[in-house]
Symmetry: C3
Subunit: 214 residues, 3 copies
Amino acid sequence: MNAELLRRTFEVLAVCFAALSGIVDARRKNTDLVGAFVVGLLTAFGGGTLRDVLLERRPLFWVERSEYPLVVLALAVLYYYAPKALRPLRERPIQRLAEGLDAVALGLFGALGTQVAIDFAVPPFVAVLFGVMTGTFGGVLRDVVINEVPMLFRPVGHLYATAAFLGGLVHIGALHFGASVSTASGLSAATTIFVRLVSLRFDVKLPPASPVDE
Amino acid sequence: MNAELLRRTFEVLAVCFAALSGIVDARRKNTDLVGAFVVGLLTAFGGGTLRDVLLERRPLFWVERSEYPLVVLALAVLYYYAPKALRPLRERPIQRLAEGLDAVALGLFGALGTQVAIDFAVPPFVAVLFGVMTGTFGGVLRDVVINEVPMLFRPVGHLYATAAFLGGLVHIGALHFGASVSTASGLSAATTIFVRLVSLRFDVKLPPASPVDE
Amino acid sequence: MNAELLRRTFEVLAVCFAALSGIVDARRKNTDLVGAFVVGLLTAFGGGTLRDVLLERRPLFWVERSEYPLVVLALAVLYYYAPKALRPLRERPIQRLAEGLDAVALGLFGALGTQVAIDFAVPPFVAVLFGVMTGTFGGVLRDVVINEVPMLFRPVGHLYATAAFLGGLVHIGALHFGASVSTASGLSAATTIFVRLVSLRFDVKLPPASPVDE
């Protein structure tokens, strides 16, 4: 598959899933429409913007593709005032919905972040961190502004940064063994989403720290 | 009126109002002088700095005009240790005072943000978002560090981002119909401040989201 | 002493102390290993990254020296899963340990921040603010993500930003009177750490604000 087309597809999907995860959470907190629009923007653009600022990559992806903010606005209006739109989203428990949307955005943005960092000649291990950052930062902003402890930092939490981290390792591993950018990105996103969902579903966590007084 | 002079006037006023809103809030929370100085800096420079970083605009306005941080320091010292200074500020209820200062800063920084983005050839709708960002981000930082839910994200809150958003639409509308930069900026700031104050005074809010189970 | 060597030494020590302060706090909050790694990264790289972004200084110090993130990872793994490693850290009360680590990082990062800003021709008073920012921002991020009120903004708190501020004034004062960069940086860091520790030990604080109703 054409690498640029895949990248664009990942980006559009990640923006929509992330924005919806923010809008759903904002509504749960009784924020008004414009507040939800802003939460959607932060969730959808936070990670990629941090990545682009740190790499001095311009124009920012949502300035270059100025239809993205309009898509976020449209999603917020539909979710707030068009009760029959986005029906599939309304038919499942809100908690699971928010986690599912977030997991997909985590995987897609993670793969995009790692790949952009590699394109900017960042060393491999740091590129993995760029993936983690790009994948998680939007969700961290969302959780901070709606006043929840970010998923990333919840006590004894499910795998979150870990999922993005594993996806990033798969990403650079695949490139190292000669995979194309498209293949590496696809494997990376799939790994992250899979690990995240398995962790949520089967309660998989990292082992606790060894006791302080041994 | 000379556009550059108007811009500078807006900037000085916005810095003072924003800084005071931060200092007043910090004192209410019993922060010490230097803490209040830092809250004042964050509130006064947060929005413009975010805008400048995203647009790669340098030098930052408070590095170029290095008297601005000194003004913020002077305001903090006066408000903390000179009981007779800034008397007009002390004579009204603290809640209303903080909201009024914040509203003026929101309008002025919003107009500055939208106009700078337009000067940097950002598409119109995104320029409006830059205005919202520049207007609100300082206040969001202030509220986060003093541990309040940001005004922008309060449940069923008064119009806040919405006010800046409407101001931005007026701004690009006025430019579109041939108004000068000064006129557009003035209308933009006036609209935002007016909408914000009317919303606070008469309890105007956006309609709630339509119910999930219809 | 060679200025570049001193700078590098300061940087390595500051990264280690800051990372440990984040990792210790994350463990106290029962975050898992990868969460603690991320908290360590934020604490160690937050201040310097903000400085570098605001000054458009690239590459970022932790991208250029990509062993730094690996050091943070190693510290997190040791502290979490190697009960006998880092023993000196485990033998003292956790609160005092976290404050001590944080104080050293504050002083070292503060001196680095002030000096880099001066190298970038930032005016002196603003350079002091860059020092405060570089010294404190990592700790603010740490406290925000583990859901504590940042030390910087605690009510009637011990000297924190104030300590970094005094260190910065000593820094530019020393340079003004002809001291070398190494001497100024050393005095700056020593002042900040000394003021911070004395404030904690002997409960030194700034005088409270004068009463509102006099």
